[in-house]
Amino acid sequence: MSEPIIRMEGIKKIYPDGTVALRGVTFEVLPGEIHGLLGENGAGKTTLMSILYGIVPLTSGRIFIKGRQVRVTSPNDAMRLGIGMVHQHFMLVPVFTALDNIILGAEPRKKGFLIDRKEAERRVMELMERVALKVDLDAPVETLPVGVRQRIEILKMLYREADILILDEPTAVLTPIEVEELFSFLRRIREEGKTVIFITHKLKEVKAITDRVTVLRKGLVVGVRRTRDVSMEELATMMIGRKLTGVEKSEEVSPREDYLRIKDLWVRNDRGGYAVKGVSFSVRSGEIFGIAGVEGNGQSELVEAICGLRPPEKGDVYIRSKRVIGLNPMELYALGLGHIPEDRHKWGIILEFSLKENAILGVHRSKRFVSRYGMLDEPRIREWTESIIKNFTVEAPGSDFPAKSLSGGNQQKLIVGRELSKEPSVVIASQPTRGLDVAATEYIRKILIRMRNKGKAVLLVSADLDEVLSLSDRVAVMYEGEFMGLVHPSEINRERIGLMMGGLRLEAIS
């Protein structure tokens, strides 16, 4: 076996806010291989590669490239070492032509400062010829489809003579045909002796394209395998792990009527493509309906569409048999919707606002809080806030303090408290325990179960499979905007869920 071209040794990364992303990872890539880096969201894949590319500084550890220890503190360093990275969010200038984007920062020049576009074009053409990857060089990038933009990103790296190419979830934006094209391209450049690191959470892709695979889970390497020696089931188990947290669900509540019904819902993402492709389901009173899946498969857009934050393209949403398409969030809350949003700092809370002000977000115009003269009713708001603080054990210095003075867990409790105090009949909880410590996580899970037991319909969306499986009565697995299948957690094993998360349909694996 040859000497590794990349060796990252004992890499640790702790972010300034204390989040531990990598707990001592050792990662090796052999020259001329396509190496898969597999893991769930938050496993540390992107962080590890960002360290290699010089965007994220490491906390401790050593990096060797071609046997030599190096320090990579900027993308420039990485490029000098022959490393190129294609980010998940492309680093392109939309108004520039493809050619200008490719040569940016490494323009061939004449007379010292003029760009020699002829020479640039010649070189890029030659490169495109060699690797059989074609793009229209004169078109502004913003007019090109994402698949082509990705090719531009790859060309940009190859133009800078990268011989190690990192691709971060490259198939996320591609159509199946484009994926095939990308794969055959990767095989071609492997023939040329280039090394490829392929970040993904999709098992099929690991099997389809990689030579070896490293599996990361929660900042640690769980295994390195030769791809042909490992089955998808095995990879699924490695990626997801077996840890189960104990949440007892107490009594069975027999679900009754449909409180939330979704019919053939189609929702576009910000880039204009479909993120949700004709999803139908209903959530009954007294049940927790879980949606599992790797993040970015349309869950966020689905929730936003249900909660009035993103107009769906077509389809229907009913809350207790009332069609609610086109209503704004405030109207939805009045109809009995409670929404615990996935990104609490973006949606759920205004950090500079006091707890009182945050406690009435969305119900601030309801009669309960507006006095006869159109003023906000201070005493009632205070009373309301203090009851949330008490009932949901929010640790707060007082209701007049800004929300940013609370810890993350207490901010989330405040949001949960606010949403549940509205006495909703339907509760949408999106990633409700993300980033919380163990105690707060347990607490919020218990609350969700209590809501179920009180006869509310709870829709739980979470990338944490343990959470979904242990809390839900029924689970749908979402992949690229569609449900791969609907299962009862007690009747399915984790491997099969893992396969569904990786894009296989329930019918195909049973």
């Binding site: 934050l309 704004n328 969030p329 973006k346 759920g348 009435i360 003023m375 303090f401």
Partner: protein, 357 residues
Amino acid sequence: MRTCDDLRNHLRPVVESSLSLLAGFLAGGIIIWAAGFNPILFYEALIAGAFGDIYSTLNTLSYSTPLILTALSFAIAARASLFNIGAEGQMYFGVLAAVSIGAFIALPSVMHQLCIITLAILLGGLWGAVAGWLRVSRGVNEVVSTIMMNFLALYLVNYLATYVFYDPLQAYKTKSILPSAELPLMVPGTDLSLAFLLSIATAMALYILLWRTPLGYEIRAVGLNPSAARYGGIDVKRTMITSMFLSGATAALAGAFEVMGRFYYTDTGLSIVRNMGFDGIAVSLVGRNHPIGIILSSIFFAMLKTGIQAVQRSTSVGGRTGVPLELGLVVQGIIIIFISIPEMLDLIRRLRGRREV
């Protein structure tokens, strides 16, 4: 420990504003010194001139009146995270309302004033709302649109003053408003008219609006976190336009009150109010876009004005009769520049740390 931190967080803006004021004063002092005066004596005379006796104090308060209003105008837009530098133009519409209704329509007192105020609010508010609408529906940055609209307002009002509302006897100015439209002086012999009380009342009203009503809640939510505002069911676009309306209306009050309570006419070039809209930006920034802070910083900036006027008249400071009023602008400019530096305290701390290392 927590309360200590909290206190520090509350004091922080006050300290940063004070540092900016100090920097402005220091730079002003250097210029005074370069001009051959003793800066300390100069500032003593300035403060004495502004607050030395009851009359000068009342005059200082009088000068703070338009500043309070134009600063509130800036602040209410800023609370919705809009940078309205159009108070200047919006204010001209208040002048227009005052001279048109005030001089050309006879009405009983009180009614007369109320009509002017209503028209000023409508014209200024709509002028501001146009900029808000351009922002939310056509994507025009409000900084660009309000700069353009300031000039359009100037030329429009200038045209109307010159050709429609002019005084046939003295063509450089409009006709004076009728006594029934005047705001009475609160203390005879000073410039302090009822306008001062009205502007304080406006500050209080806006304070209540911003912190005690659902609309104010929505304006602040939109300014701090538009996504969360949307999540809370707030119509972000409508709220932005509303805050621009309020902003323009408040600025227009400044123009109307200057005519009704001080000059009773305007020169056709509007020099009686020129730049007061821009002054409001500095006042509001120093007052941290808060009505109470704005009242205090208005008085501070008014002090610069009346104080320097007093220094001009005094002979005790130096051999010369004085320095131009524009010294106040130099001080003001430097204050604004310092205010623009973010986290100034952290910066100073870091610089100090570096030196110690």
